[in-house]
Symmetry: C2
Subunit: 543 residues, 2 copies
Amino acid sequence: MSLMGQMMHMPLMISSLLTHAARHNGDVEIVSKRVEGDMHRTNWAGIEQRSRKLAQALERLGLKTGDRVGTLAWNGYRHLETYYGVSGSGMVCHTINPRLFPQQVAWIVNDAEDKAIFVDLNIFPLVDKLAPMMPSVKHVVVMCGREHMPKESSIPNLLCYEELVEAEDGNYQWPTFDENTAASICYTSGTTGNPKGAVYSHRSTVLHAYASAMPDAMSVSSQDTVLPVVPMFHVNAWGLPYASAMIGCRLVFPGHHLDGASLYNLFEQEKVTFSAGVPTIWLGLINHAKQNNLKFSTFKRTVIGGSACPPAMIKTLQDDFGVEVIHAWGMTELSPLGTLSRLKAKHADLPKDQKEAILAKQGKGIYGIDMRIVDGDGKVLPWDGKAAGDLEVRGHWVISSYFKMDKSPLHDGWFPTGDVATIDPDGYMQITDRSKDVIKSGGEWISSIDLENVAMAHPAVHEAAAIAAFHPKWDERPLLVVVKKPGAEVTAAELIAFYDGKIPKWQTPDDVVFVDEIPHTATGKIYKLKLRETFKDHKLPTA
Amino acid sequence: MSLMGQMMHMPLMISSLLTHAARHNGDVEIVSKRVEGDMHRTNWAGIEQRSRKLAQALERLGLKTGDRVGTLAWNGYRHLETYYGVSGSGMVCHTINPRLFPQQVAWIVNDAEDKAIFVDLNIFPLVDKLAPMMPSVKHVVVMCGREHMPKESSIPNLLCYEELVEAEDGNYQWPTFDENTAASICYTSGTTGNPKGAVYSHRSTVLHAYASAMPDAMSVSSQDTVLPVVPMFHVNAWGLPYASAMIGCRLVFPGHHLDGASLYNLFEQEKVTFSAGVPTIWLGLINHAKQNNLKFSTFKRTVIGGSACPPAMIKTLQDDFGVEVIHAWGMTELSPLGTLSRLKAKHADLPKDQKEAILAKQGKGIYGIDMRIVDGDGKVLPWDGKAAGDLEVRGHWVISSYFKMDKSPLHDGWFPTGDVATIDPDGYMQITDRSKDVIKSGGEWISSIDLENVAMAHPAVHEAAAIAAFHPKWDERPLLVVVKKPGAEVTAAELIAFYDGKIPKWQTPDDVVFVDEIPHTATGKIYKLKLRETFKDHKLPTA
Ligand SMILES: Nc1ncnc2c1ncn2[C@@H]1O[C@H](COP(=O)(O)OP(=O)(O)OP(=O)(O)O)[C@@H](O)[C@H]1O
Ligand SMILES: Nc1ncnc2c1ncn2[C@@H]1O[C@H](COP(=O)(O)OP(=O)(O)OP(=O)(O)O)[C@@H](O)[C@H]1O
Ligand SMILES: [Mg+2]
Ligand SMILES: [Mg+2]
């Protein structure tokens, strides 16, 4: 007969993150570069009070526990209030990527059956157009003050965020309920097919916040000023809005101003110390800084993930700018954090290049996440750094099923990620590819990430993508698609020669195509599906 | 109708801390200074394997889920294996303080109904003597190899730890069960009365581990070598055995070698970076280092709590030794961490003395713990740094009731700590006293901690205790009991004069008594109950 513990059982509630921040770090600033163009300053106490008012307003609109509330908004304080006001009151915050194709936005809103949509001023035209296609939506709230409200709209009863919030008295108690209640929904990026919905709970969100802030993970503390470049509609900005409340740090939101120059100025003006974002966004920032010979005065650490971060980028940020890169791997289905690359104590005395090789991997599983790799027959493979297999995970913040999809995605209790990876004896996981992107040359696998990493180390290359091109003998052979740096010159032959000695000879791309732009998905990933489509008739010189 | 999250529901299990450590940091060392006198080295993989064998051995002995297993042991790897082997298999690990009076030990074992006792070699004589008084105990396991087993004992079937463990094959799967199952029991220190049992769950233990390791709390990481001076029988060494597995850091256990010289040598030899312990233990270490003109070469940070840490001690460690002190407050009933004192970002530019004043407080509540102060009528008091009231807490790792005690200790859902405190607008809590130790002079309260802190700053004072002495007019007046530093001289009048300008005049002690030793409880706290008893007939010069 087991004995039960005699501890208080308090559910893990998202609202408690915010009330903790307000009580203990109420005067810590939340800075936002607004869509309106100006800077806005509030603090954790202000966010908490307005989130309570927002919760009151939602109830006044007739919204109920469990109802989905969509957001189409950039990173800013009102979006933060919406996160907490919606989830805190027992409703479900559904963040939507405004960069998706309009049809996809409508499809997602309909799939989630959003009852209300909160939308930023400069995204409003999209909603205005889509409104007739989204019958579940009863309320559209424009996130601005009365003075900025759209003058014309086909939507009846358009609501003004500021009016809605400021009409309430804030006399509201955050409710307590089952910690497994849904708190938010996020759809996958749609890189490999249609977006699928992940439904996070209060429990999974709070546990993820604890794990993500740990010294061996992001290591964020109340000493930091955090600027999430990763959008709040991309897996909840990787959980930073929750972790930031937990630790009570200063937050700086960039709004939609994500070009290199705007970001650089914001980092400097607001003394940002920590950031997070996908690789593409850093390309712009690094270029801007290099071209203008700029350095960062307070920015010290950044998490990069969502796609493989090229080692050359890690090296530039570290060596040229003194910014430590924490390479991370995650998925929408993982809330999103799975692994982060940090050195172990025993690595302290390794030579620089060996440290860099470790840090270029996707990293170690954080406590709360289990990983394994399996072969085609489901047999578990060893952690020897060589065997590559399908990566599977399980843990407190991993989905067990997709929203409205009956079929369980799990394999034997584990979630199959669709990524192919190796794990070394120290537990460092390295993604070789998505299984759909692997280049299969005569039965052997070539990692497109490896090919891209080499190309990205060439001084003339701005961005590179490796895809499979048809080959009559080998089925598939690698084709490299390259965007050159402005003003730089390099030939296909030179780039192919650049691979010499860096990877096994037979893996070298058969051809290089130069393009003006590589297509990206709405979350800033290389859109390989599209690239493969574009180059499906490409004739390799080797064919 | 609420919507439920669609996340994997995996219970928070203590065993998963250990399996995570073994998989990701299996080669990280666990070093122990053994009772046998030598040094022992294993690693997280070794601990995990032997804990599994121990779990098998416990089941082979016929022990069942929910059974209590007592330990009377110092900090060492076998004790660590017992923690995990017992809790991991669904039994309840009951750590017992061997420094308690023998009768208290027997009382606690009987109250917990321990079925087995694991005991260190040099504590065995105590168990040998008490065995007849502990009828529930069916098995006594001596934590050593066959060669060291006691030759004579009145206990039939005395078991040898190493034989027991090494007889098993380790072919054991850690079970998964309800996360609210009891994992361990710890009794309070018995400073103010009889010890009371706190029953921790797997859930509360894992959540406490997350919260305690955070950058704004202990900030321990896999980069650290952690030496827990605080015993594993004192609130599970403040959770360090769990947090250490979670982060996979190197651990150094001092066994029973806790004198200044032994500790200093161990810190240096094993390159310890982080430690934790009660104030008294640091007195010995600091004295040893000062007398021998020693510095620490790797030791950088320590948590001090369990009693108020005198500001003079924080200053010495910081200024003379470069060791950052994190002052912490906790209780057995809180697993134990409640607050830790760390500066906020906005404090960065304060002058040194103002920073010191903040760091001398007991600190900020960590996320997962709520605090409030109430007056005699239960009215909630403001966080203004002035109003002092009864401190009450609630949170994920706070008890809801004591073992086998029907009466709920809670007040309105909050746990009353028995401590009197102020909380300032920044959320820093400061303990003025235990409510039982407050000196009540003519209706006004005098904080004994304040009086002790002043005395401890005097260069001739080794240790000081302030207690209430009877006064015919004021009811109580402060009496200071002092142990001088070896060779130092100071008079009562000089000490009383030393208070000038440091506290309000009327709070100055009426008298000073010099003694050779101040009595301590089994956990190293000043034993005020005993002191008050000793000085109950003391005649104040002012009376
Ligand atoms: N550091 C990284 N290195 C390599 N790949 C990464 C990294 N971080 C994330 N990824 C890739 O991103 C994927 C998760 O992305 P996300 O959840 O945003 O949607 P998606 O997989 O791109 O879209 P969809 O699942 O709809 O096709 C991972 O499965 C992996 O392929
Ligand atoms: N940093 C600190 N400053 C002041 N007091 C502290 C500090 N840390 C702990 N304490 C005191 O220790 C108490 C908790 O100690 P513990 O749980 O070990 O048992 P105890 O209270 O000493 O014994 P018992 O409850 O049996 O009388 C707190 O209630 C507080 O009075
Ligand atoms: Mg995906
Ligand atoms: Mg107590």
